[in-house]
């Protein structure tokens, strides 16, 4: 077989191979976006539930203004981090900011529920119980959806860093995405101090 024939067969074959790799990278990036969209829906629902929760809690916890305001502030930060992340779910910095903001929100909510233990009337309130249940369920849904998101991110990252995609993925705008670590309060990551 002559060199010309080899080139005639080889070049289209190479082009098809590269196109298939590119298409695979696009598919993985879309999977990440889709998985994040599932989380985004639940996070939005979580953020929407919090004002209702605060409204109910305010009726019974008028002396805990600081705790309630901390939750509202954390919710506002988390909502803006969510908006930024939903624009670019493959951006590791946006995802890291979202993780941190959601972690801070979880921490402030945890404090709110801890303080709420001192208010039996609030604990017995039916609306509060319903809202707590919805919040718990939404957080569980986010936690389960996060597994799918992280799986999709792992696939994308493996594909982007694998040879030969690593040679041209950067040029086409494919970057390594960041995994989510939602609802983890940064304080929980501190080493446990054991005293005897």
């Amino acid at each position: 077989m002559s060199a010309g024939a080899l080139i005639l067969l080889g070049v289209p074959a190479l082009a098809v191979w590269l196109i298939s790799i590119y298409n695979q990278l696009v598919a993985f990036r879309n999977q990440v976006a889709n998985a994040f969209a599932q989380i985004d829906v639940q996070l939005k629902r979580r953020h929407d539930l919090i004002p209702n929760l605060i409204e109910v809690a305010r009726r019974y916890m008028s002396f805990e203004r600081e705790t309630l305001e901390a939750v509202i502030a954390a919710r506002t930060k988390a909502a803006s981090a969510r908006t930024a992340a939903s624009g670019s779910p493959s951006d590791p910095n946006a995802i890291a900011s979202l993780s941190a903001a959601e972690g801070a929100l979880s921490g402030s909510l945890g404090r709110l529920f801890a303080v709420a233990e001192n208010y039996p009337d609030l604990k017995a309130n039916e609306q509060m119980a319903q809202l707590s249940e919805e919040l718990t369920s939404t957080e569980n849904k986010v936690a389960f959806a996060r597994q799918a998101f992280n799986d999709a991110v792992m696939k994308l990252n493996t594909a982007v860093a694998s040879f030969p995609a690593v040679l041209f993925s950067g040029a086409f705008g494919f970057k390594v995405a960041g995994t989510l670590a939602l609802f983890e309060n940064p304080a929980d990551r501190e080493p446990v101090s054991v005293r005897f």
Partner: protein
């Protein structure tokens, strides 16, 4: 917890070493392999039985077709099918004679076609049953004012996200403590929950129950369960044919079903659904259907064994129908229902293992199963759907009632399977059940004993059917053929 009881509870418990604990992925794969092996065996059994029944029906079907051609011959010239068949069977064997296997297959063709049409109609009817329809489900939707129901609906949605399937419909049934899943596939599944479940289980336990139910959907148990129920119901109905000529109520019921199968109108599909839902139960016509005079008479004299003139007219059906029914009934009780039970048990274990994978808490599932079982596990369902519950609804006699192997795994075995995946061992879980290898040996021995017995039974039934067919089917057909040609 008081100190004494706490020490009692902990004294029996020993943490399993990681090496001794079964990985739930391995457990799922093991149960899936076992379930598919048994499913394949069931499919082969049904195919063989269907073929045998079709062969038994062949003389009758060819006779009817031949007589129809004879009658048509009075108006225009038609081939003499019965004459040709008679010559083929009575002529001495030569090298040109087709192989007996081909003759048997050719003879079975109309029967196979009839069985296939009946199976299609039965499947259609079953799919339209309220139990398997997503657009007309039983039960009621969740009451948003009841926190327990909202919680149950929420945990099912959570588990659906975890299993990456669309959230199933959730319906509630008052006064029950059990849950079942049915439908026709992943996208059309419905979960029916006893409304008292939310009151007696914690959120973690509810999550475990939801994990089991959603796993059943994700693993395809919904469709397999429906097919198993359909196959068993169909064979139970076929088995009931054996009593058609000695019990008037059964005769009327069989006739009603045959009419519905021939003309599957909307009303007749209701008749089929009612009979399929409870093939071993009441023989009364379903509510809303008009009872004919013969059915009323049949009901009045249900225990009367004297034959009416209609039964005498239908006597040519006796050989094929009664013996097919007898064969189907015996095979159903001795072979198919036990096989299905073993298969279904594996699916239950697999759903348990998948639930543990989803929730990561075998203890919650173990406690939930114990509590539901302890509360009576009541859920008012048709017998054809009893096996779709999470815990055996003892009050409902399911279509697996004839099987000598119970359809649900014993609670102690289920507990042991969960303990292997890391659940806490309970001293109150009952006596340790026989190990799996011992059960396998018992099943093998039973198969070795029952297999030849069943084979002999099939051959005897085939011979008896031929003899009966000669007297009640072929003889009257030959006489009629003689007069018509």
């Amino acid at each position: 917890m008081p100190e004494a009881s706490a020490s009692c509870a902990t004294s029996h418990w020993q943490a399993r070493a990681p090496s001794a604990r079964e990985d739930f992925f391995a457990a799922i794969a093991r149960h899936r392999r076992a379930a598919w092996r048994i499913t394949a065996l069931c499919v082969v059994s049904y195919a063989v039985l269907g073929l045998v029944v079709a062969v038994l029906m062949a003389p009758l079907l060819y006779g009817v077709l031949g007589l129809a051609l004879d009658a048509a011959n009075l108006l225009t010239s038609t081939p003499d099918l019965l004459g040709l068949a008679g010559q083929a069977f009575l002529s001495p064997a030569t090298s040109d004679t087709p192989h007996s296997l081909w003759v048997a297959l050719l003879a079975a063709l109309p029967g196979v076609a009839l069985v296939a049409i009946a199976a299609r109609t039965l499947t259609r009817a079953f799919e339209r049953s309220p139990m398997f329809r997503s657009d007309a489900p039983i039960g009621r939707p969740a009451d948003p004012t009841r926190l327990a129901e909202t919680r149950m609906r929420n945990v099912i949605e959570e588990m659906a996200i975890a299993a990456a399937i669309p959230a199933p419909q959730v319906r509630f049934m008052d006064g029950s403590v059990n849950a079942a899943v049915f439908g026709s596939g992943v996208g059309q599944a419905t979960i029916l929950i006893g409304a008292r479940m939310g009151d007696c289980l914690t959120r973690a336990q509810l999550q475990a129950v939801a994990g089991h139910l959603v796993s059943s959907i994700a693993n395809g148990d919904v469709l397999i369960g429906m097919r198993a129920a359909l196959a068993l119901s169909a064979f139970s109905l076929a088995g009931r044919m054996a009593a058609s000529f000695t019990n008037r109520a059964v005769f009327a019921s069989t006739l009603r079903l045959a009419r519905a199968l021939v003309a599957p109108t909307t009303a007749n599909l209701g008749v089929i659904i009612a009979q399929l839902s409870d093939p071993l139960g009441t023989l009364d016509p379903p509510a809303g259907t008009v009872e004919t005079a013969s059915e009323r008479a049949a009901k009045q004299g249900a225990t009367d064994s004297r034959l009416t003139w209609r039964q005498w007219v239908l006597m040519p059906l006796m050989g094929p129908l009664i013996l097919s029914g007898l064969l189907a009934g015996i095979s159903n009780a001795l072979l198919l229902a036990p096989l299905m039970s073993v298969m279904w048990r594996q699916r239950k274990y697999m759903a348990d293992a998948t639930a543990v994978r989803l929730i990561g808490d075998p203890d919650a599932l173990d406690e939930a199963l114990t509590r539901v079982g302890g509360a009576g596990a009541l859920l008012r369902l048709a017998p054809c759907a009893a096996h779709l519950c999470i815990v055996d609804p003892a009050a409902t006699r399911g279509i697996f009632g004839d099987s000598f192997i119970p359809i649900f795994p014993p609670p102690a075995l289920r507990h042991q399977a969960l303990v292997r995946m890391g659940a806490t061992e309970r001293s109150s879980a009952g006596a340790r059940s026989a190990p799996a290898w011992l059960l396998n040996i018992i099943y093998l021995l039973l198969s070795l004993i029952l297999g030849p017995f069943l084979l002999a039974m099939m051959m005897s039934a085939a011979m008896a059917s031929m003899a009966t067919s000669c007297v009640f089917t072929l003889m009257p057909i030959s006489i009629l053929h003689h007069f018509l040609r």
